[in-house]
Amino acid sequence: MEFLFYMGDVFTPMNFGLLLLGTIGGLILGATPGLSPTMAVALLIPFTFKLEPQQGLILLGAAYTSTVAGGAVSAILLKIPGAPANIATTLDGHAMAQKGEGAKALQLSFIASAVGGVFGVLLLIFLTPILAQWALAFGPSHLFWLAILGVTVIGTLDSSSVVKGLLSGCIGLWLATIGFDDIMGAQRFIFHPSVAGGINVIPALIGLFAIPQVITMFTKGRSSDDAEIISVKRHPIRKAMAEVFSRKRALSIGTAVGSIIGLIPGVGGQIAGLVAYDQSRKFSPDKDKFGTGHSEGVIAAESANNAMVGPSLVPLLTLSIPGSPTAAVLLGGLLIHGIFPGPDLFMNYPQVAWTFIDSMLIGQILMCVFGLYIAGLAANVARIPHGVMAALVLGLAVFGSYSVQNSMGDVYVMATLGLAMYFLERFGFSAAPLVLGLILGPIAEANFIQGSMIANATVGMGSYFFTGWLNWLLIVIVIASVSYSVWMEIAQRRYTTKDDAVAKEEALS
C-alpha cells in the first residue's frame, strides 16, 4: 500500500496543475487526427527538462492517458479515429452519433475509459512491486535476452512483415552502437560530426514519430477533412453512468482484454480495442446490433484501450523494457533526468515512481470529468487543416530537438531519421521496433559485454548465456514470438490475395 503514502504529492499545486494541463491538452491533442499518443508524448518531452522528474512524468503520463481517450471524440463525431486505439470505437460510436446520440456515445466512451483506465492503473500498482522484486534476481545474461525479447516481440507482433519488423529492430540496435564505445573508447560508425556523441534518444524519438506524420499530411495536398461534425444533443450524465454499469459484460470484457493485452509488449491499444469489441459481440445476445450504434460496442472498445495504458508500463518500470512505443518515449522522459527504470527504481526513487503512478490514477478520473465537458471543443480542433497541423508539428519538432542539448546536430539527426522513417514506412517497415532497438541497444550491449566477461572468467559463453531456466524461458519466448508471427503471416497469406492486402494497407494508411 506504499502508493497511498505518496498520494498527497499528486495534489501539490505544481503537480496537480501539470496533471490538469496534461489531461486537458492530451484530450485536445488526442482528438486531432494524425497526432498519435506516442507523437504527442514525444513532442512534450522537451518541455519537461526544467521540471522535477516526477513533474515531467506526471505531464507525460497525463498526456498519454488523455490522448488515448481523446481520440474517441473524432472517432464518434467525425468517424476519424484520433489514434489507432480508437478504430473500434468508430464502428458503433459514429453510428450512435448519426442517430442523434452523439453526447451519449461520448459520455459512455469517457466513463468506460475511466473504468478501464482505473483498473489498468490498479493492476500497475499491484503487479509492479511484485515483478520488480522478482526482477532483482536478473543477471546480465537475463537482461541481455530480455532486451532482445523486447525488440523481437515488438518487431514481430507490431509489424505486417516479420522479416521487415526484425530488420527495423536491427537498424535500431545498430543506430544505438553509433558513437564512442563505452569500454574501449573506440569510435564506431561516426560518419558525420552530428553523431559523434552517439544518437540522442529524444531527437530520434521526435523525428521517428513526428516527421513521418508531417510528410503524410503533406501527401494529402491542400485537401481538408470534409467530414461534418455531428452536433450533439444534451444527455444526462447520470443516465450514461447507469448504462455503463448496466452493460457489465461489455465493460468487464473490455477491461480484462485491455489489461491482458497491455501486459504483452508490442501488442498495443488498436488490437486491444478491436479484440475487446469482437469478444464483446461474440458473447452478446444482441450480436446483430453491433455496428448499428450499440452502446456495448463503444463501452467494450473504450474500456479496453484505456485499460491497456497502466499494464503497458509494467515491463518498463520493473525490467526497463518498454512494452510499447509510448512507453519507450516515457523511458526517454526518465532518462533525461538521469533516472533509469528497473527493479531498483522503487528503492532509489520511490517518490518519483509512486507519485507518477498515483497521478495516472487521478488522471483517469480527471480525464473522464474534463472529457465530458470539452468534447465539443476538441471535435472542432480535429478539423484543423492538415497543412496547418503539419507546419505546427514540424516547428515543434525542430525547436524541441534543438532544445535537448542546444545543438543543431540533434535537429539534423531528428530530420534525417524522420525522413528515412517515412520512406521506410511506405515500404512496410515500422517505427516501433526501430525505436525499441535504439533504446534497448545500450542495455543489450552493456549486459552482453558484462556477461561475456563473467562467462570468460567462469563457465564460458555457451554455458553462461544458454543455461539456466530463466535464460531458456526468455529464449523460448523469443523463438515462440517469431514462430507465431511467421505462422500467422503464412496463414493470413493463404486466405488473402495480394490485391486484398494492398487494399487493406491503403485503408489503414
Partner: protein, 154 residues
Amino acid sequence: MTDLPRNQHIIASGLIAAIGITVAYVSFTQEPADAFIFPRLIASVFAVLAIWTFGKAVLGRTKVGNGLSAAAMRNLAPGLIVTLIYVYWAAKGLGFYTATTIAFFVLLSLYDPAPHGQLKSWLKRIVITAGFMLVMYGLFAMLLNVFTPKEILF
C-alpha cells in the same frame, strides 16, 4: 503489385541491403576488435535480413508496403523541399526564428485549403504564423531559456 512499387521496393531494399553490408564490413574490419563484438552480432543479422528482403523485392514477392504513388509524390514534393531547406540550411543560416517564420508561412500557403485569391485567407495565414511564433518564442526563449542560433537574422 504494379511495376512502379516493385521498382521502388527494389531500390529501397537495395539501399538497406547496401547499408547492412557496409555495417557488417565495417564491424568485421575495424579495430579494436573488442569494441565491435556486439556490432558484429547485430550487423550479421542485419545484413542477412536485408539481403533476404532485397532478394524478395527483386523476385517481386514483397507483400507489404505500397511505395509512393505519383500523386503523393507531387503533393509532398513542395513541402519536403521547404522542410529540407529549413532544417538543413535556413535554421542555422538565417536564424532560428526567422527561418521558422518563413518556413511556417510558406507551408501554410502551400497546404492550407483556403483559397489563394482571397485577402482574408492571407490575413488569416499571417495571423496564424504570428501567433505560432509568439507561442514558440514564449515557450522556448522565455520559459525554457533555449539559446537558438541567431546568425544573420533573429
